[in-house]
Amino acid sequence: MSTTPVTPQHSGRSSHGSGPRPGGDRPRKPRRQYVRKRKVCRFCVDKVDYIDYKNAELLQTFILDRGKVIPRRITGTCARHQRWLKVAIKRARNIALLPFAAGA
């Protein structure tokens, strides 16, 4: 079979963007059946302007038991505060207030 120049171009476009994905179309039809609760940034609520690296108890709530930083899509932290949080966690790790990603 010879490939026509139109077909691959067309299918490539549709599978890229808004087209239905091969498997997971059917059960996903009713889009807004439940409304997920909107997460808000804890630091914005508390109006935090500086995240102190010495506050290990606070930082602890933003790392997993493994020591990894919890992504902000889970904690709901805004980009700016996550950035500050990252710096604070790294400093705290440096001075043994928080673990590095290790020990499960």
Binding site: R38, C44, D49, Y50, R91, A96, L98, F100
Partner: protein
């Protein structure tokens, strides 16, 4: 001379270090700061804390915290050199935080000003939380 900078310095000693030795380390540091025309703003002994990970063979350490104003980077260099050679010190860290504090002050002031202008609602928050 350079502008004044603000640093925080934390060092960790072995947990079995006698307090007199820790004071000795502290006084040498303070001496260095004085020589370099800085000043020690605050000294806090946090005491023995658990370490998040092992350093050397220790699982805990005696934490000492200092807040220092300084004008010359040489001062930090010398402080860190002293810490490196002093025997009871397990680990140390110096952080320059004046710029972050400046940012914090700026943000706080801006928030206050905004609140003063429009006291009806907490300013700067998205109006998503309605019900």
């Amino acid at each position: 001379m350079a502008e004044e900078r603000f640093y925080e310095l934390i060092f960790i000693c072995r947990p079995d270090t006698p307090e007199t030795d820790i004071d000795k380390v502290l006084s040498t540091l303070q001496q260095v700061v004085e020589e370099q025309k800085g000043r020690v703003e605050k000294v806090e002994k946090w005491g023995v804390r658990k370490l998040a990970y092992r350093i050397g063979k220790s699982r805990e350490g005696f934490f000492v915290f200092l807040a220092i104003y300084g004008r010359q980077g040489e001062m930090i260099k010398e402080l860190e050199r002293r810490l490196k050679v002093s025997e009871p010190v397990l680990k140390y860290m110096t952080v320059r935080i004046d710029e972050e504090l400046k940012r914090q002050r700026k943000l706080s002031e801006r928030r206050e000003r905004r609140l003063a202008r429009r006291p009806r609602k907490t300013a700067g928050e998205p109006a998503a939380a309605s019900g």
